[in-house]
Symmetry: C2
Subunit: 374 residues, 2 copies
DNA sequence: ATGAAAGCGCTAACAC
DNA sequence: GTGTTAGCGCTTTCAT
């Protein structure tokens, strides 16, 4: 016969009080005499009582669980984002529930709708998943639940959102290359678009391209389709790196028809930047001696890669803080019956900070190349 | 006035059946007439019914949630492990709940005990967390719940466990260096220990050292404390890389007292290997031209790093399969009342497969150095 | 400050 | 095949 877990009843009986008093005592509610609370806590400890959260959640309708949706776990960026969000959620006494969609819009839709956890188990949700802006009508999926969009860049501000300094950060990245003497810069990330057409960029990569081409054009440097390579992952980055290397080698070979050789590459994320460096190395092109490369995100491995990667490091701790501030505000508001009388909280928006991190991949002097910069 | 979610009652009423029939129909139970099931499903769809899992879990005592505990999210190894486990769990129709302990034995203990989710909400648990073998009495913490230990290497087989091919894999790694001509191999990972003392190695790094030193000694090559560096992370790896570089430079400088220069480095994981390469580069030592380096794990970024990293790639898909087979067997066994009459399932053990992946970091000829090997 | 009653939404067990 | 009953363990409400 299995002796099953003690319930609140058992604790109450052992302490000689009612279940209600035991519940209040255990949850630290005021209005319980200290001596009574002590008795209850002692009984709970003695019995090794563990609250049954399913029962608690069923009755109270609150779970303290925050749902986090990302594209995948196994990527330098998402693993860092996940860790930052998890840390902040735990620090606030909440419980993170992290799910990956593996870049599937269907999976994202499911996570937000069909999935019975959403809206019943979770107190709030934070999502950074690809393609949401274009393919998934997020605002419609979210039935007024506490919800934060990360870097979805949607233009209609109906939801709380924390965005990255996409345009400004990538502009600064391109400017760094220019300041370091680059005059023919390749851009890796979003597909080519004219500057004017980028005014309506809807996603992060579009905004980053806007920033990079802005810096380049404003400096009087060339910007055209031959210098823009579409890539978001290391695999695509390798392909881009090969193309960039070929153009450099072609120019070196003395071919008079050759395009001028690239001397800098501005990447929309670190992941692709690693691929670009890899692709360049395949053809013997060295970074930073032959070409300088800068990424975006500030992933952890950028500091211990060889060459270490210069980047636009975004402040993910700040992102997590903002997201949870927005979420908890909405959760509290709902708990106080805020939504019942039509008084909905207006949507909040925030843009997180960044800093340019200069490492080997954009170094100008050989001595800097071997200095290990964190 | 907020119109709250429809319940099973509402669906049953709309379909003109009892709640029980509706429940059975929705859960795909047999013994429901097809026409009835269709009516119920239609009603559920029309009302946008979503099952309340807290209620379901409370009543049935099953959640279909698998608890996964790892040290951290933001590391190349754990992010890959997490993704593999998550994929397999989802593929089996279960729900992964992933938690990080951040290398804290306290956090691990909490995750397994104080945490009210464990043993009440979760159907099973999979843990790969550092220090569990030595500091946390896992077997005692687990109250007979379905539970799988990943690579904890504990000697008393009281729990289900999936282990890595630690000794064998690292032996193969060292052998690769030897076969490629290395004669003075540094080992990075576990602290130095005599071969005899490693007979009782209790953790993964100890076993890996046993494998490496076995290959080296059996080949008649030197193995002593001067060639062993303790490191598990990129940061430690950089320190080790600096020390290794100094010894190489010292020997090059013609100092007659100098130790022979290292020509190979066998690392206990890829994470440290990246650090070693980084540390070597800080002193201008090139990989693989000056020293060959091999890692362990087969993390994703090893293929697109520069140099790309040779490694012992362990089969994490297989790990996930084994772990879930063990878990589901135990869950089913418990559901069938297996534990009540004292018939406990004997503990299972498995060792996952590996393959040696040769990339640039151990290449012997220059031509191989620029070939991009996946 | 404490307790009694009621029920959250679902499903196991049993009747019909 | 379908319906009825009962209750999982907790917390909200309201009485004392």
């Amino acid at each position: 016969m299995t002796t099953s877990r003690p319930t609140l009843r058992d604790v109450a009986a052992a302490a000689g009080v009612s279940p209600m008093t035991a519940s209040n005592a255990l949850r630290g509610k005021t209005g319980v005499r200290e001596s009574t609370r002590a008795k209850v806590l002692a009984a709970a400890k003695k019995l090794d009582y563990r609250i049954n959260l399913t029962a608690s959640m069923l009755k109270s309708g609150r779970s303290n669980i925050i749902h986090v949706i990302v594209n995948e776990f196994d990527s330098p960026f998402y693993s860092k984002l996940t860790q930052a969000l998890s840390n902040e959620i735990v620090a606030r006494g909440l419980i993170p529930f992290i799910e990956q969609t593996r870049y599937s819009a269907d999976a994202a839709t499911h996570a937000l709708t069909t999935n019975p956890f959403s809206g019943q188990l979770f107190d709030g949700e934070i999502i950074h998943a690809w393609g949401l802006d274009a393919h998934v009508p997020v605002a419609a999926l979210n039935g007024g639940r506490p919800f934060v969009l990360v870097d979805a860049c949607e233009e209609t501000p109906t939801l709380d959102a924390v965005n990255f300094p996409n345009e400004e950060g990538e502009r600064a990245a391109a400017q760094l290359l220019i300041d370091h003497g680059c005059r023919n810069i390749a851009i890796v990330g979003h597909a080519f678009a004219e500057r004017a057409d980028l005014a309506h960029a809807q996603n992060a990569f579009g905004l980053r391209l806007r920033g990079a081409c802005g810096a380049i054009l404003d400096a009087g440097l060339p910007y055209d389709a031959s210098a823009v390579f579409e890539a978001g992952s290391a695999a695509d980055g390798i392909t881009a790196g090969h193309a960039i290397a070929r153009q450099i080698l072609d120019a070196r070979s003395g071919n008079t028809d050759a395009l001028p050789p690239f001397d800098g590459v501005c990447c929309a994320n670190d992941y692709a930047a690693f691929g670009v460096i890899r692709g360049l190395a395949d053809h013997g092109i060295r970074v930073p001696q032959d070409v300088k490369v800068i990424g975006f995100d500030g992933v952890s491995c950028g500091s211990y890669a060889t060459p270490s990667l210069s980047t636009v490091e975004v402040n993910l701790e700040q992102l997590a803080k903002y997201a949870l501030d927005m979420l908890t505000a909405r959760i509290e508001h709902q708990a106080n019956g805020g939504n019942e009388d039509g008084e909905t909280l207006p949507p909040s928006r925030a843009i997180i900070g960044y800093r340019i991190v200069e490492r080997e991949s954009t170094a100008t002097r050989p001595s800097e190349c071997s200095a290990h910069a964190l």
